[in-house]
Amino acid sequence: MLEALIQKKLWRFTLNFKLRLENEILVLWGPSGAGKTTILQCLAGLAKPSSGFIKLNKQVFYSSKEKIHLSPQIRNVGYLFQDYALFPHMTVRENVMYGIKSKRLNKPFIDPVELLNSFGAGHLINRYPHQLSGGEKQRVALARALAVQPKLLLLDEPFSALDKATKESLRQEVKKLHRQWQIPFILVTHDEDDVNYLGDRFISLDKGLSSEKMGKVPSLNLLFYNSNS
């Protein structure tokens, strides 16, 4: 279970974010500039909140009270970047193996090559990222993130650069992956179709108008929905 309370001062407003997540898919939806990526970066340890706490399966990642801030290296959080961030000077195989070699996992439970095969991307193994299509890049990035067996997977606008057909098939793959892996997924998007198709739950982020009327710096309003209700 993931629990988080994040306060983060941003340029124009202060982000307030509260979260409690079982092994579900949570969709974070909102316009650009609402702080969606900041939340993911705080969870992964790539950014530091101003205050609050982050806890995954009883392990404290961050706590302003206890002055804990674990480095991203030891959090074991998978992160799929918006532009995939595949290392351009490495082949697909080297990309997928990078995390396993970094963590010196002698006996990885998952064979990354098999993981690629299961995504239908096994034939790409010796190619470089610039030789891949958008959908292929995304599959490789997913395999790279999952190869180190994360306990939480974060996906930043994973489908925004893809055409409609690829988008739909990848949405299904992500849903299938989630059933297999049984870990919390958090997906950031501004596409309403992603919300409808993927979200067990979704949170909508927006800069509130009400606070603007009071003549203050706009703060972030948080609306919490359960898609079943």
Binding site: Q41, A44, G45, L46, S71, P72, Q73, I74, R75, N76, V77, G78, Y79, F81, D83, A85, F87, P88, H89, Y98, G99, S102, K103, Y128, H130, R144, A145, V148
Partner: protein
């Protein structure tokens, strides 16, 4: 004709430039990496100071170095008490070359480091790679073309250093008489044959280096 003794300026220049480039790589790369990603108060001031040797007249740098390593200099005096003299030795020539070559290495490397998408480094972090592993396997390879450009530029600058070198190292044949210094004194003494040979060597060598780097850079695009 051109005897073995006449080659001494060439060998001396190469030796000076190689030492200067090695020092500049060891000091310039980490500094450039640090400055490319960090913001702190006074950064602009520090950066201006670092790049100053690039725009200062060489004689000003020479004078500054004299104050530093001269007989009564800040460093020169304590070193002289230990029996070490740098001024008017080969080491002074290497030092002058290092100072003028440093900003070129620093600027090229910093531009190369800054141009790397930070997400590559962030992705490596989430995959559990240590900072040193990230630097060696992600940052350095991606910045390599820019770093190589810095190496070549600083090597060329070190090879061509004249003003500051003359002031702190002088013109001692076989010891501090590098190519540019030797050309100047050959022309001054009316020895056109030596001057022309050295000019030809310097020109051909510089051309080959630039040519090779341009070819290499072309093949390194991802």
């Amino acid at each position: 004709m051109f005897s073995l003794a006449d080659w001494s300026p060439v060998l001396l220049s190469l030796r000076t430039a190689v030492v200067a480039v090695i020092v500049v790589i060891i000091t310039g790369l980490p500094l450039a990496r640090l400055m490319a990603r960090r913001e702190f108060p006074g950064k602009d001031l520090l950066e201006s100071a670092i790049t100053l040797p690039m725009v200062l007249p060489p004689t000003v740098i020479g004078y500054g170095l004299l104050m530093l390593i001269g007989k009564n200099g800040l460093l020169g005096q304590p070193l002289a008490n230990l029996g070490i003299t740098i001024i008017f030795t080969w080491w002074a020539a290497a030092l002058a070359s290092t100072v003028v070559a440093f900003p070129l290495m620093y600027q090229s490397a910093k531009a190369a480091f800054s141009s790397i998408d930070e997400n590559y480094e962030k992705a490596a972090r989430t995959l559990g790679a240590s900072e040193i592993r990230i630097f060696l396997t992600v940052t350095l390879p991606l910045a390599w073309p820019g770093i190589l450009a810095g190496v070549v530029l600083s090597f060329a600058r070190a090879l061509g250093e004249f003003g500051a070198t003359l002031m702190v190292a002088g013109n001692i044949p076989g010891q501090t008489s590098t190519i540019p210094v030797a050309i100047f004194f050959a022309v001054d003494a009316g020895d056109n044959a030596t001057a022309q040979t050295l000019v030809a060597i310097a020109t051909v060598f510089s051309f080959l280096v630039i040519f090779w780097v341009n070819r290499w850079a072309k093949r390194q695009k991802y």
